[in-house]
Symmetry: none
Subunit: 402 residues, 2 copies
């Protein structure tokens, strides 16, 4: 039996509440002997850790550093190597666009064309305001090509997202990007017969856009790449019979949550706001994904102290979450982002799971840390097993087999 088939078979609904608190990029590496988590003063997390199950999780597999897409799919219970989220889809999620099953999403750059050659692949990094102005203009000019609807959305500086919506579209195209300056426009080619129509639409689009932007130098043509269709992912409702909601601030994480069928709850941007949102909607759902972004942002910046301070801020709000007495609570990261590396990394994530029916190993007074998670009762496991463990602890899984 396939893993997902198993979940469909054994999942049951009950009234128990589960909360998954994700501190993005939580895990770290030691600087002066201590990681960010070890450095942070976290009295509430430490108290909680003493009465929780601890472990370490591999986001994907040992040694593999994940992007946010696969890392979150794992945490939502999906095999991250089974579902690929194409670059265009992620870009669309990142600017807050919902992409449907009949659409192809594409990353676009405005670029500069001079005497038939691309001279700047980023159109001099035009200001975002200029980008918005051009996109508004193009929306009026190019609404449809054949029977395909054209959606255009501004990103930062020279970036935009193009969404084609219509019948019989495919993402099996080569990139329309020469990847170097001094070359002419490169048109997309269909990798298979099924993509012939999409390639034709894309190439007409490039010509129409270039014709419309004659007077918009340096943003007078475009490069298109990362063609991607919506991955056909079964929802959390289908797999786990969960009524799930996300409390996330950044568009990409909202998008990833929406991809697996979560409702996206309106929330302010601080941790305090997010906790207030959780309280407000607590009766309405049985699974909450709360995404705290800044741990990762500071990690990426190499700002060790900044990351420590976000962990400490989170710790101050933790008691308010605990007051809700969720039946299963997990605190973890989606991947590690050590300030030392200024990047996502492959190091496994600390995992804390608090529920009613569990074994514990940590003595009280011991810190919630990567090191102490090594000897936790959960051992080292794969992040895609976090949600199944939560389901089990919430008694939402029936016995498999007789």
């Amino acid at each position: 039996m396939e893993r997902e088939e198993l979940f469909r078979k054994i999942s049951i609904e009950n009234e128990k509440k589960m909360v998954l608190l994700v501190l993005d990029g939580l895990g770290g590496l030691p600087v002066d002997g201590k990681t960010e988590l070890e450095t942070a003063r976290t009295p509430n997390l430490d108290l909680l850790a003493a009465e929780s199950e601890l472990g370490l999780s591999h986001s994907i597999a040992p040694g593999i550093t994940p992007g946010s897409g696969p890392a979150h799919l794992s945490l939502f219970g999906y095999d991250p190597l089974k579902y690929e989220i194409g670059r265009g889809i992620l870009e669309a999620l990142g600017v807050g666009i919902t992409v449907g099953a009949k659409s192809v999403a594409v990353r676009g750059n405005f670029a500069t064309l001079e005497n038939g050659l691309i001279t700047d692949r980023r159109a001099g990094r035009i200001p975002t305001a200029k980008n918005c102005e051009i996109i508004a203009y193009l929306r009026e000019k190019i609404k449809k090509i054949e029977d395909v609807e054209i959606g255009l959305y501004s990103g930062e500086e020279h970036r935009f997202v193009l969404v084609l919506t219509g019948e019989a579209l495919s993402d099996q195209l080569t990139d329309a990007d020469p990847e170097a300056t001094g070359r002419p426009i490169l048109y997309a080619r269909a990798k298979s017969e099924a993509a012939a129509k999409t390639a034709r639409i894309i190439n007409i689009f490039i010509d129409r856009l270039t014709a419309e932007l004659t007077d918009f130098h340096p943003a007078n043509t475009c490069l298109l790449r990362g063609f991607a269709q919506y991955p056909a992912i079964p929802s959390l409702a289908e797999l786990f019979k969960l009524k799930a909601a996300a409390i996330a601030v950044y568009p990409m994480y909202k998008g990833l949550a929406q991809l697996v069928g979560m409702d996206i709850l309106d929330s302010g941007r601080t941790i305090q706001d997010q906790v207030a949102t959780l309280k407000k909607h607590y009766r309405e759902y049985d699974f909450f994904f709360v995404h705290i972004k800044k741990t990762d942002s500071y990690g990426e910046d190499g700002n060790f102290a900044g990351k420590v301070s976000v962990i400490e801020e989170f710790d101050r709000w933790l008691p308010e979450i605990l007051e809700l007495t969720p039946d299963v609570l997990v605190v973890t990261g989606d991947h590690s982002t050590p300030a030392l590396l200024k990047a996502h990394s492959w190091h496994p994530n600390p995992v804390l799971l608090k529920a009613s029916f569990q074994r514990q190993t940590l003595k009280s007074g011991v810190k919630f840390s990567e090191k102490n998670c090594v000897s936790g009762i959960l051992g080292t496991f794969y992040a895609m097993d976090v949600l199944p463990l939560m389901m089990a602890n919430a008694l939402k899984f029936k016995k498999y087999g007789a």
Copy 2:
């Protein structure tokens, strides 16, 4: 996405150096309360362990005792259940023959035929010198059958290796071995239409050999089994973009390294010699596999003290390897060979990984041992993840997904 596809996608080249030190059969079982590794005085390994990541690896899976072939495939990053190295190929590797893609390798026994019946399946275990003499004679007599070249190579005593090389050969044959005395010669049968030609060649070979050896009683016929073609394994260069070299003394390990595309470096037979070889070629490659055999040999002999002494000898040479300051260094075994069992075993392997960006758990002054590896930060994992972990620590893996 498949595991190997992932590796191809995320591997990058850089200047970092990785050294994989394999003490064959390193892991053991306690005698008088201590394993071989726990008994050995290893001051250098212990110092290194305190600043390394530790863990335990399953060669194949919990409970599975591997042969050398699958155990090394695992260490080289391959799923050992995906690629089968046929017995004939291993036998060929063991006598130092390189087998190409158009060849079928076969294990041969000289045997005794009397009155049309096999009376000794090992021809009285003729001396190896006699074997060499017979093989030299046969090489002159049987060079080709139809368009197929016949390669013959002596093994120990009654054993030899036959290699067929030509077009449209197949290893899908039943063994030409009655597996008991008192029976006539058993000819090979093709298991599929594609193997008909190979079966015909094999059976002609048996008759020709038997005719040639009329005067060579007791070695006057042969048994042939373990027909095997070269497994189509992608190289380390293809999967991981590595320029890899092996420093191994025994033919089988050279052969296994060659199978995955490593260069085989000429080396003397002692650990000292092997370290000298590593130094000599250190600038030329970015991955070195150093294979130390005697730990396993003594284990297989049940010689606990002998195995301890090889570990201690290795420890004395370790500082010279450390002086090279490889970016990533691993010390591990391919499988356990407890002297107590006088055989390979299923017990997981101690793993020590030293690199720059890591978490540590062992306090200094604690021994590198099976027991201490249990609580290491690497946890218990699969040996096929050793190379991916090395790649990650050498920053030779890009992020997966965005």
